[in-house]
Symmetry: C2
Subunit: 162 residues, 2 copies
DNA sequence: CCATGATACTTGCTCAAGCAAGGAACTGTT
DNA sequence: AACAGTTCCTTGCTTGAGCAAGTATCATGG
């Protein structure tokens, strides 16, 4: 460990600075790239794709609105509109929750599943091209572990976390 | 190299899948975290901070609109509005470009520089806490190199790149 | 059983960002 | 020198997302 007494309020060192700038760029550019690929080829946004994907993996292909918002890192109000859009296209339907009258399920429709299956190859191609290919030969697991800590595990309100 | 004949259109393997999901989460959450930290403590957005920072590093503390848009990964129209906001706060001023009558410089004002210096400690704290701390013991340079390839170097229109 | 508070969502408002179209200035060709 | 094409930037329009406030349902205490 070269640096022994690292002051918290001193500037970043060169390696740290480069990492922050690069990651800063990636976090701005990458979502646009993935979103663009999907929109261009299968006319669906990354947000919508993500919602359909999460639903397809959930038991009975349905999730409560707040679960879904958490899974897709969207505010609850954002999720309301997003699901409304998907519903208007018939890709999702909404059912009252039996056990809790306040709650709603968003349920993937057969049409929604078809749409997801339709978009999947594009997104697979896109993620390979935009992400995986650039990490050839890297330690994916180690990298993922580090990145995962940034993501905050994704429990409680992430903005207030810690 | 374990996998010899990797089919491009087969699903991602488990490590790849985890990386994509984690990076996907980071690219959504991290900008919100950094933006939130800045807004809360020094009432400035990440976009605005980034603009002021780039200007402060440029020769004569000024940049053409399209340079600035490229550096901050913002559309040119987005940059027009962003600079207009900053100008209305007196943090930036705009001058016609002498050599090219179509062009404009955005120039950092002394007030803009003070604002940046004011925000810097917060952003430093934020990036340490949100990013650097999570990579303790990692190979920062190697990681940066991989991430840099995702960012596409940042030359030509990134959405059409390749 | 009623009141108070918490939870699950929705709706109104605002705002930042992108696209497409427009205007002004530059460049190149004939 | 004039026109066509390109570049640089701005403006009109639309959209997706968040916050704050509202509504309906649940849970709890008296």
């Amino acid at each position: 460990m070269p640096q022994v007494t690292e002051q918290r309020d001193e500037p970043l060192n060169a390696d740290e600075e480069r990492l922050v700038r690069t990651l800063g760029r990636v976090m701005i550019v990458l979502p646009k790239l993935l979103d663009h690929d999907l929109r261009e080829r299968v006319a669906i946004s990354l947000t919508e794709y993500s919602i359909l994907m999460h639903l397809s993996e959930a038991p009975e292909r349905r999730m409560r609105m707040n679960e879904l918002a958490g899974a897709s890192d969207l505010s609850l109000s954002g999720m309301t509109r997003a699901v409304a859009r998907l519903e208007s296209e018939g890709l999702v339907k909404r059912d009252r929750c039996e056990e809790d009258g306040r709650g709603w399920f968003a349920t993937l429709t057969p049409a929604g599943l078809r749409r997801l299956e339709d978009a999947y190859p594009t997104h697979l191609w896109s993620t390979r091209r935009r992400i995986i290919d650039h990490f050839a030969g890297s330690d994916l697991a180690g990298l993922t572990e580090a990145l995962d800590r940034i993501g905050c595990g994704g429990e409680t309100d992430p903005l207030v976390a810690r």
